[in-house]
């Protein structure tokens, strides 16, 4: 059998890659900053006292644009990857995706209501619009997930197969509603809606960042506490309960963490696909399926991968910018097919 990477080496490697991605994400963009200046300015920003002559521009770009964008990328990537682990554990299937429980489509619907509905009332106020959009997306994701969860419950037990099918049905329903809003939208609104659906880390601001950072930290601290229970859940629900796991409670936590995490990520950065699917998979290939390693490693890998995807989005057509959802789908979909084909043999 192929030997796996030792958890220690994995964490060292991933941390190094993550730091590199942060560094590049801070330095590169329409105005590229010298790497060394970026490092000095970043160190000054976090309070390390070093001489700052000639760094005024770098510090301005970093503090106002690159740093919030980088933090947004880290949080979105990390929380999407964690949600992927949670869903693959819940459905006991390595090809499950956070979107399965309807959270992404619910968020898309919430956003469509905010964008098109807002436009119908003569445009959203400048200072309030972005927050309303995020809030609607978040509530939409949470709402649809809650409905999927309710539909999957019978006699006090949650049937994940029913949840899966309910998720597909509600995703289709939400999709048709989004389609209706798309039909009703005027050209400008349509553009906003389309771009939002493709996802972007552009326009990150600290104000929109905080809720996501708090949710990400919460989920990232909570899920690893349940790592052993998640391992047991992969044996099967009844097996896990015979090992003393409160399976219903665990499933509730997994759905809640996913709804919260993906809801907050989509609210902050729009629809970004495949991270939740691909990252846990990559980590499992490297280090095996043990959740005690998989969960923390997926946070690092997800954050890193999203920052690199964002770099591609920023640089591929510079000075124009690709929506990041295009990049992740372009990289993720072939990888998914590869996994599917590999699984056949």
């Amino acid at each position: 059998m192929r030997t796996l990477v030792k958890p220690r080496s994995l964490f060292i490697g991933l941390s190094a890659l993550c730091l590199l991605s942060i560094w590049l994400s801070l330095a590169l963009g329409p105005v590229s900053l010298p790497l060394f200046d970026t490092l000095r300015a970043a160190l000054r920003l976090v309070g390390v006292p070093i001489a700052g002559e000639g760094l005024e521009q770098a510090e301005l770009i970093l503090g106002q644009i690159r740093l919030p964008r980088t933090l947004l990328g880290l949080a979105v990537g990390g929380v999407l990857a964690l949600s992927g682990v949670a869903m693959q554990g819940l459905f006991r299937n390595p090809l499950a995706d956070p979107g399965l429980v309807g959270v992404s489509s619910g968020a898309a619907l919430g956003a469509a209501i905010a964008i098109v509905g807002g436009a119908a009332f003569g445009g959203l106020p400048e200072f309030f619009g972005p927050y309303l959009l995020s809030l609607c997306a978040f509530l939409g994701g949470l709402g649809v997930t809650a409905l999927v969860y309710r539909l999957g419950r019978r006699n006090g037990q949650t049937n994940v197969a029913v949840m899966l099918l309910a998720g597909i049905a509600l995703t289709a329903l939400a999709g048709s509603a989004v389609g209706l809003f798309t039909y009703l939208a005027d050209d400008a609104t349509l553009r906003t809606l389309t771009f939002w659906n493709l996802g972007s880390l552009n326009g990150a601001s600290y104000a929109r960042l905080w809720p996501l950072l708090i949710v990400t930290a919460g989920v990232a601290l909570w899920l690893p506490r349940r790592a052993k229970a998640l391992n047991a859940l992969l044996l099967g629900e009844s097996e896990a309960s015979h090992l003393g796991i409160d399976v219903e409670g665990l499933k509730r936590e997994l759905v809640f963490c996913t709804a919260l995490g993906v809801g907050a990520a989509v609210a902050a950065a729009g629809m970004i696909g495949f991270i939740g699917l691909v990252v846990p998979h990559l980590v499992r290939l490297l280090a095996g399926p043990d959740h005690r390693v998989l969960l923390p490693a997926s946070v690092l890998a997800g954050a890193t991968l999203l920052l690199f995807a964002d770099l591609i989005a920023r640089l591929a057509l510079a000075p124009a910018e690709l929506p990041i959802g295009i990049v992740t789908a372009f990289l993720g979909a072939p990888f998914f097919l590869y996994l599917l084909m590999r699984g056949r043999h």
Binding site: N231, S238, G244
Partner: protein, 255 residues
Amino acid sequence: MLRTENLQIRRDQKIVLADVTLDVRPGEVLGVLGPNGAGKSTLLAALCGELAPTGGQVWLDEQALGHWKGAQRAQRLAVLPQTSTLDFAFRVEEVVGMGRLPHQTGRTRDAEIIHEALQAADVEHLAGRSYLALSGGERQRVHLARVLAQLWPGQNGQTLLLDEPTSMLDPLHQHTTLKAIRAFADRGAAVLIILHDLNLAARYCDRLLLLEQGRPRALGCPQAVLQPDELKAVFGLDVLVQPHPELGCPMVIAR
């Protein structure tokens, strides 16, 4: 000790199990026999709390089964289902190690127990391999090692429920596995085991429960239960029953 009185399970108004009064005694291997659909797995599901009885009650020690807290119950009662659906590439010893989840015995002790359970189920040589790379029979033995590890070393007050643990095993491993289960019971644990092979049941079980259409037909030692007319009535099979030439236990031969 696990026991039940007048256990009844109804499914969609149809009674699938009734009148089962049973105790699984420390140190004994209790075999459950019966044709397909006789209610063997239903009985096991009710005994481990997966199915709520529509009549009667299941007791673990002096407390109703449903009142036990998850981990405490799991330290006393382990269950091996007929099939398992693990689709992730855990290593063999990681799968077995999951049996230690209800315990806080520490890493060193757990490693010893995992090793001993792997030996008992004769899967020690598979340590380090991916579970997904194993054959059906090897997987079955790995899961047996897991439930053995859950109760290891096995003592008075613990109960192990096994649903056809030999269904995918070659003849040699059918015997080694049942010997391991026998040894486990000899250390004081109570074992209830669903079997299809009448000769294996006759050889390794202390008592047998013969189920027919959800009701107990006979309960007693193998000599008493494995009677040609009983077997004809329950299985519809003409058999000869003779003592094993070397061991003396009943041996069932189809005519």
